[in-house]
């Protein structure tokens, strides 16, 4: 079997992917949002115990934001898994487009968590009893890198549509 045969087969398998470009992106975005929130919960709350369940300086709006995003995170994870299955069922899965959504979604949530929830709403800090500045910088720079990777992937898929 030649390489062109394999690519042809792959294209045929996801033959409808250009029709579902937006849906691939959204499915990835939701999955990225959900997964990063899950990682945050497992690593920083449960394993490292750096984050606190509640911080006395939390503003009420912080509790509202936390509750909304908390519910949204598992909602999005489960929902995006079914959307992904649906895309496969329609032969419309587009891996690069989906990945770009994951990176953008994960980065966006990380940035929102790092700037709005940690700093403005003072929900909780990344870690306590340390100089917080380097932690905040690393956190938000990582978020920006995730978003950048996502945007690059997204632009690449746009080019492939034109071709």
């Amino acid at each position: 079997m030649t390489i062109s045969n394999i690519t042809a087969e792959k294209t045929l398998k996801h033959e409808n992917r250009y029709k579902y470009g937006q849906r691939n992106l959204w499915t990835g975005l939701l999955f990225g949002l959900g997964v990063i929130a899950f990682i945050d919960e497992v690593i920083f709350h449960q394993l490292l115990h750096w984050h606190h369940f509640y911080d006395k300086s939390t503003a009420n709006i912080g509790l509202v934001s936390d509750g909304l995003f908390h519910a949204f995170s598992f909602f999005a994870t489960i929902g995006s898994a079914f959307l992904l299955a649906d895309l496969h069922r329609k032969h419309g899965f587009w891996v690069k487009r989906w990945l770009s959504g994951i990176f953008i979604g994960a980065g966006a949530f990380q940035l929102y968590d790092g700037i709005i929830q940690h700093k403005l709403m003072k929900l909780h800090q990344i870690r306590y009893n340390v100089n917080i500045l380097p932690y905040d910088v690393v956190w938000n720079v990582l978020a920006a890198i995730l978003i950048l990777i996502g945007i690059v992937l997204l632009l690449q898929t746009k080019n492939s549509v034109k071709q």
């Binding site: 369940f53 509640y54 509750g67 949204f72 898994a81």
Partner: protein, 265 residues
């Protein structure tokens, strides 16, 4: 405090019986209906009877016996009770499709008038996701952020009323989002998803609020433990809810798949 404990326990036996007996009766009615209808119709799925029994055990354990008594004294036990009676038991019971079983067990004529009755407007309003959410989660906000929680432990009547409400509102909430039994006037998936998301968020927000501002007469340690049980235990059951909602969407949207289109080259 000691006197207070004795007081609640002396009234609680009657209250426990009033709350638990209806569940014991409905447990037997269901099993009786399964046997009755299996004689004429095809076998009623075994897993549905199993879900009905487990759902009832969750509710009964919360309402009568040693654990029920702990829920009077300890806030963390009370919260486990809330998860079992208000969330898990209703979900398991709704999955047992009791209305479908009832409709197939009674004479056809009766079944027809019953299903006509359930189509009436008041039932549609009750089953609306927003109405059911306000009744369920709104009721919890009222209970834990006002003196109602203290009053509940002082009045047998309020105690019984609130516990009946917790279960019924939880059941109504479940059937407003997850359609197992025949449901006239169904809401769209997108509408149900948005309202369910907001309702689950309100549940998470309330649990952190309890952590931050304990209800009166609840110690800080108990409030913190109870709040975390509500937050994470709620998640576990809510994940089941969300899974079922999306699973139903996934199955129902199968029809809308487009016929195979070969991509232009």
């Amino acid at each position: 405090m000691h006197v207070h404990d004795n007081h609640t326990q002396s009234i609680s036996i009657i209250a426990q019986l009033i709350l638990a007996v209806p569940f014991i009766i409905s447990l037997f009615i269901y099993i009786f209906a399964v046997f009755l209808s299996n004689r004429h119709k095809k076998q009623w799925p075994l897993y549905r009877s199993f879900l009905w029994i487990v759902g009832h055990l969750c509710a009964i354990a919360t309402l009568i016996g040693p654990f029920a008594e702990r829920t009077h004294i300890s806030f963390s036990a009370h919260m486990i009770g809330h998860l079992l009676l208000g969330m898990l038991a209703p979900l398991l019971m709704a999955l047992a499709a009791p209305m479908t079983l009832l409709l197939r067990s009674i004479p056809v004529k009766m079944a027809r008038s019953l299903s006509l009755l359930l189509r009436r407007k008041p039932f549609n309003v009750l089953r609306d996701p927003i109405f059911a959410s306000i009744l369920n989660v709104g009721g919890l906000w009222l209970l834990y952020t006002t003196p109602l929680f203290t009053m509940m432990h002082e009045s047998t009547f309020l105690f019984i009323f609130i516990h009946i409400h917790i279960f019924l509102a939880g059941y109504l909430f479940t059937i407003a989002f997850i359609y197992i039994d025949p449901t006239p006037h169904q809401s769209s998936y997108i509408y149900r998803s948005i309202i369910l998301l907001l309702a689950l968020a309100a549940h998470s927000i309330l649990s952190k609020r309890i952590y931050a501002y304990p209800p009166s007469n609840v110690s800080i340690e108990q409030a913190e433990l109870g709040a975390m049980i509500m937050y994470y235990g709620g998640d576990a059951i809510e994940i089941g809810f969300v899974f079922l909602l999306f699973y139903q969407w996934f199955k129902s949207s199968r029809k809308s798949i487009h016929p195979k289109v070969v991509a232009p080259r």
